[in-house]
Homo-oligomer: 262 residues x 2
């Protein structure tokens, strides 16, 4: 049931990823350690993106920003951000141009990397609190949906909110809210509980990113802001160039989730 890398050290898993021995999604790996979303943009968009993140803190809680042109991170992980994520997406003018397991060939001197908190960080808390996490039970990537909720724009950047969804029986919803509200740096409390249509989701069985999961009779879908939102922003705003992680294929950091609470 547990992920085979659940108890492996982050640096060890990152080395396997760098060697392309792990190229799949990372949910359940390195329990207790934060995972992070990636968005890489040319410096000319860096201020607009940081402002976008400030204005949309639930979807874009920034954990670290690289120096321009620098592939190395030094705060949340000692890592080369161009190689240590299992799968990357390359965007040109807002269009997906390639999906690669190593982004080195696409790196440029003017790129700035933004690492963003991930809901995987609060899933340990949910499980501890007795809240079910369906996609972990079903060993799938989390289902993610593009909503009709516009983010607060900043400069050249605009787009709609992306959410992740976990179906919950009624008696688990309160605990799910309180457990995640305490972790604002990894998306915090849910943004929506209940009717998917109200936020523009037509069919839960057809997520825009990740994989669908079973919703049992009597369960309510609970939606959290998702760090894939910057990819929706890239598709909507069409910056000349961008690199992101592939949804669910995260950077595994050296930062313990528990330290993201204050």
């Amino acid at each position: 049931m547990k992920n085979p890398y659940a108890s492996t050290a982050p640096a060890e898993v990152r080395a396997l990823i760098r060697a392309q021995k792990i190229t799949g999604q990372t949910s359940g790996m390195c329990e207790g350690f934060a995972q992070a979303n990636l968005i890489v943009l040319p410096y000319k968009y860096a201020y607009d993106f940081l402002l976008f993140a400030q204005r949309n803190p639930k979807s874009c809680p920034v954990l670290e920003v690289s120096e321009p042109g620098d592939r190395l991170l030094r705060r949340i992980a000692q890592t080369d951000i161009a190689t240590d994520i299992p799968k990357y997406r390359i965007y040109e003018n807002g269009v997906l141009a390639a999906e690669v397991t190593d982004a080195s060939a696409y790196w440029r001197e003017d790129l700035v990397s933004f690492l963003i908190g991930c809901s995987f960080s609060f899933e340990g808390e949910l499980l501890e609190a007795g809240v079910s996490v369906r996609h972990i039970e079903q060993n799938r990537n989390v289902p993610m949906y593009l909503t009709n909720l516009p983010c607060d724009p900043a400069g050249a950047l605009h787009g709609n909110l992306v959410v992740s969804m976990r179906p919950l029986p009624p008696e688990q919803i309160v605990r799910a809210v309180t457990a995640t509200a305490a972790m604002p740096r990894v998306h915090g409390a849910p943004v929506h509980i209940g009717d998917p249509a109200q936020i523009g989701i037509a069919d839960l069985a057809k997520p825009d990113f990740g994989e669908a999961v079973t919703v049992n009779p009597g369960e309510t879908p609970v939606f959290w802001a998702c760090g894939v939102t910057p990819q929706a922003v890239v598709m909507a705003s069409k910056p000349t160039f961008a690199i992101t992680h592939a949804p669910g294929h995260m950077l595994i950091t050296d930062q313990r989730n528990v330290l993201l609470k204050d």
Copy 2:
């Protein structure tokens, strides 16, 4: 005991400030509404400052950022930021050049305003929780101190952390920590509890900003990150130009403190 403007609406107090009928410090005004620190910088420093804030979220929780050159705020308050603060400080090359009650004459087309959460926002919570707030009891400005703790630098900006201090009897410290930890957007939990010398404060009776308060026998000084930190950054990093609020003389926003909890 209560501030005469404790129950006045924020827009009404801002109008009195704009008319220069209020020019003093704002602690205790408009109970329940957030107050904010101000730092205004030329656009060429805006990315560095936003990154500095991201790297130092306890001292610089950003509540709103203006468009370049725009004096009007639209999110946390409908307000003209050049006139609606009781007292401003003008810095040229890191040196205090003037203290004014209206900053209009100093405004420029390239200025960006950053509004930062203020510990006044959690003082209502402290009082509700039965925690004493000495400077309110003594009707003074809060005492603030420049520490020897370096902030995490960003680009051209660096400097040491500034803290506010409230002396507490031992039985109130835990409640003070838990009440403020729940409000990360207004500095959150304390950064230091106890011996002032350990963070470079030689004499509690001589604050660097604000006014000293009585510390009773048996009380422990408790220190929170303070939104005056950007002023210490300006003095240390010497940007060509900056405008700040005068310590304790805040923007009173239309945002209820309770909404800063999520």
